[in-house]
Symmetry: C2
Subunit: 396 residues, 2 copies
C-alpha cells in the first residue's frame, strides 16, 4: 500500500500562489517569446574572457560576492550609462541583478504595498505586469500614441487616482523600443512626462532594456539624464545584447532606494562566474558585438515588415520599429486574437495577443510579433503561414 502523501495544502502561506515551472512552448514559427538572435551569441568570446578572468582573479570566487555584484562589472555598467545614456552614475549607484526581472521585482516590493497604484503604459511586458499583480499592486495603464505616453492622459489618470485617495507609488515606463508597442518615446514627451510626474511627486521607473538595439534613427537621451534629484530609477539588462540565459541586469537608484530594494534580493550577489565573463568580454567588445547583432536583427525586421506587407496588406496595420525585437500588429476591432492564440500555436505560429499586455485586458485585436530568434527566411515563411491560418479560420 502506498504511503499517504503528506498534506501541504493546509499549511501554504496565504501569500503563496502557484509559480510557473517549465520552459516556453516552441511552435514551428515562434513569434511569441522575445528571444534575441542566436547566431550572434558571442560564445567563444565569453568563454575566453571567463578563462582569462579566472586566471587573473578566480580565487576570489571562494569569497561570497559583493551583495551588489562584481565591482568591475558595476563600473563598466556605470561607464556605459554615462557614455550611451548621459547618466551621471558610478559603480556605487548600481546593483547587478539576475536579469532586469529581478531588478523590477525588487523595486516593486521596495515601494508598493498591496493596493498601491503603479502607473504604466497601456500595454507592457506581461511578465512585469504579472509581477506587479503578484505583489497586489493596482496597475493602471495610461494611453499612448506612437510618440509614447500621452501627457494629457497621464495628467488626468494621475489626478483621477489621487482624487480617489489612492497612493500612486511610481510610473513604470519602457521608453525605448517599448515592449510590445515598439515606439521610442520622443524627447519632448520624456520631458513632459517628467514634468507631470515631478509636479505630483511621483518617481519614474525607466526600463531601458532594449535601448541598445537601435537599427536606425537617433538615440533619445534617457529620462534619467533629464533631471538630477534622484526622481528617476533606472533598469537595464545584458539579456538582449548577450543572452537571456546569462541572467544579468542592473538597477540604478538613489542610495536609500537601493538599500531598501536589497532587502528583497534573494540569493545574495549575482553569479560571479557569469559576471566575470561578461565584464571581460564587454569591456573590449561591447560595441562591435552590438553592431553585429543589430545587423542581424535589422534583416529580420525588414523580412517581417516585408512579409506583413505581402500577406496582411489592407487587413492589418503596424508601425515599422527603429529597433528592438517586436512588431505590434493591429487587426480590425472585433477580431479576437486572444481566443485564437492557442489554436494558432497549435497550427504552428506563436504570437502573444494584446490583452496579455494590458492592465485592463484591452487589445484582443492586437498581437506582438517577435522577430529576434528565427532566421529572416523563417520570419517570412512564418508571417505567410500566420496569414494562411487567419484566412482559414475566417479572421481575415
Amino acid at each position: 500500500m502506498a504511503a499517504q502523501r503528506f498534506d501541504y495544502q493546509r499549511i501554504f502561506s496565504k501569500n503563496s500562489t502557484v509559480g510557473a515551472r517549465g520552459t516556453f512552448p516552441r511552435p514551428k514559427y515562434d513569434f511569441a517569446v522575445a528571444y534575441p538572435d542566436p547566431t550572434t551569441l558571442p560564445l567563444e568570446g565569453l568563454a575566453q574572457s571567463l578563462k582569462a578572468a579566472l586566471e587573473r582573479e578566480g580565487t576570489d570566487l571562494a569569497y561570497y560576492p559583493h551583495t551588489a555584484g562584481l565591482e568591475s562589472l558595476r563600473k563598466l555598467v556605470a561607464e556605459k550609462l554615462a557614455r550611451d545614456r548621459n547618466m551621471k552614475v558610478n559603480a556605487d549607484n548600481v546593483v547587478l541583478t539576475s536579469g532586469s526581472g529581478e531588478a523590477i521585482s525588487m523595486l516593486i516590493q521596495a515601494l508598493a504595498d498591496p493596493g498601491d497604484v503603479i502607473l504604466a503604459e497601456e500595454f507592457f511586458y506581461v511578465g512585469t505586469l504579472r509581477q506587479m499583480r503578484r505583489h497586489d499592486a493596482n496597475v493602471v495603464g495610461v494611453k499612448c500614441d506612437n510618440q509614447g505616453i500621452i501627457p494629457q492622459e497621464l495628467e488626468s489618470t494621475l489626478k483621477d487616482q489621487l482624487a480617489q485617495g489612492k497612493k500612486v507609488k511610481f510610473l513604470y515606463t519602457i521608453p525605448s523600443f517599448q515592449n510590445p508597442l515598439g515606439w521610442t518615446m520622443s524627447l519632448a514627451r520624456r520631458q513632459q512626462v517628467l514634468d507631470i510626474s515631478r509636479r505630483h511627486g511621483i518617481p519614474i521607473f525607466e526600463d531601458d532594456c532594449y535601448v541598445d538595439l537601435r537599427f536606425e534613427g537617433e538615440d533619445v537621451t534617457s529620462i534619467h539624464s533629464l533631471e538630477d534629484t534622484g526622481q528617476v530609477i533606472y533598469t537595464g539588462s545584458f539579456s538582449k545584447i548577450l543572452a537571456p540565459g546569462m541572467r544579468m541586469g542592473y538597477l540604478v537608484a538613489p542610495d536609500n532606494v537601493l538599500d531598501r530594494a536589497m532587502s528583497f534580493k534573494g540569493g545574495g550577489g549575482v553569479n560571479e562566474f557569469a559576471a566575470l565573463a561578461i565584464e571581460g568580454y564587454l569591456r573590449d567588445n561591447m560595441y562591435s558585438h552590438i553592431d553585429e547583432e543589430i545587423r542581424a536583427l535589422r534583416v529580420k525586421r525588414d523580412a517581417m515588415v516585408a512579409a506583413l506587407g505581402e500577406n496582411f496588406g489592407g487587413a492589418a496595420t503596424w508601425e515599422v520599429p527603429q529597433g528592438g525585437l517586436y512588431v505590434w500588429l493591429e487587426m480590425p476591432e472585433g477580431v479576437d486574437l486572444e481566443a485564437f492564440q492557442e489554436q494558432s500555436f497549435e497550427e504552428g505560429v506563436g504570437y502573444y495577443n494584446g490583452a496579455m499586455f494590458s492592465p485592463s485586458g484591452q487589445g484582443k485585436n492586437k498581437a506582438r510579433l517577435c522577430f529576434g530568434h528565427p532566421t529572416a527566411e523563417t520570419v517570412s515563411q512564418g508571417v505567410a503561414e500566420l496569414a494562411r491560418i487567419f484566412q482559414r479560420h475566417g479572421l481575415m
Copy 2:
C-alpha cells in the same frame, strides 16, 4: 544651488527594510565567514567544461532558461542525491536556485505567514535566521547535544507552541556538520526527530549543504531517505564543493511545494552559463574534486584543533568535527564574546559569536571558528593570536 533630493522615505513599502550592500570585512585572520578552500577551486576545469558546453549547446542561451534551471544539471543533482543520500528523486523534483540561500528564502515564503512558528536547532546559520525574521517568522530554537536535536526537547517545544495556539510551519535542521555546532545528527536521532514531526504533522526542512565535506567516519543517511510521504523537504548547494561565487543550490520537494516556492523565485531560472559549467565539470570530476578539497580542509581542521589545544587548553572546550568548515568554541559562562567581537576583528582576528546564531540571543560565551579559507599555517597563527588578544583583554 544643488537640486533638492527627491524624497523616497514617504513612499517606501511597509514591508521594506534596509538590506545589506557590501562585502564582508576581511581581518588578517578571518575565522568569521565560512569560505571554502580557495586553492582547490577547479577554475581551469570549470572554464574548460564551459567552453565544451557552449560549443555543444550554447545557442540555447538565446532562449529563456527553464524556470527550474538547466535540465541536465537537475538530472545530475538527482543522481547525486540518489547515490550519496539514498533519495528517490528525479530531475522534476529539483529546482536549481541561486545558492541554497534562495531555496531557503523561497521555502520560508511558501509556508510561513507572519507570526507562524519555525522550529530550528538552538544555534544555526545567522543568514538563515535573518531571512526567517525578515519574513516575520517566529523562530524557536530547540536544545541540542552532540548527537543533534534532543528528542524530548523537540517534543516539549512543539507541545508548548501548539498549546499556545501557534501554527508551527516546519522544523528546519542542518543535520550534517551543523552550522555552527559542527556535529552530525545520528541515525537514531534522525529517526526520532522524524517520528515526532510526523506525529504532529510538521514537515522537516533538511539543509544538507555541508554533507559532502566529510573527512572521516561514516555517512549518515539523509532524513529525506527515511520516509516516503513527502514530509521532508531538502536543500543542498554547490557553494561548498565549488565556490560561493557560483551561486548554485537546489531545492527538492513534492510537486505542489515546488510550485508554491516558484512563486517566490525572483529573476527566472538560474544562470545557465554557470549551470552549464558546473554540470560539465561535475559529471566527470565530482568525487575526485571533493576528495582533493577534503584533503585540503582536513589539514586545516587538524591545524585548528592542534592550535586550540596549545593555546586554549583548559580555558575553553570544543569538539573535533568530522567534517565541514567550523569548530564551535565554548568559553566559560560570563565571558562575553559578543561584546568583544568587534575589538577582536579590529585587532586582526575575526570570529562570529554564538549569540548571532541563536533565535533567543543565548551563547555569548561561544564562537564559531571557520578554518576553510586560510592556509593551515595561517590557521595556527590566527588561533595563537586570538589567544593572545583574549589574554591581553582579560578574557582568559
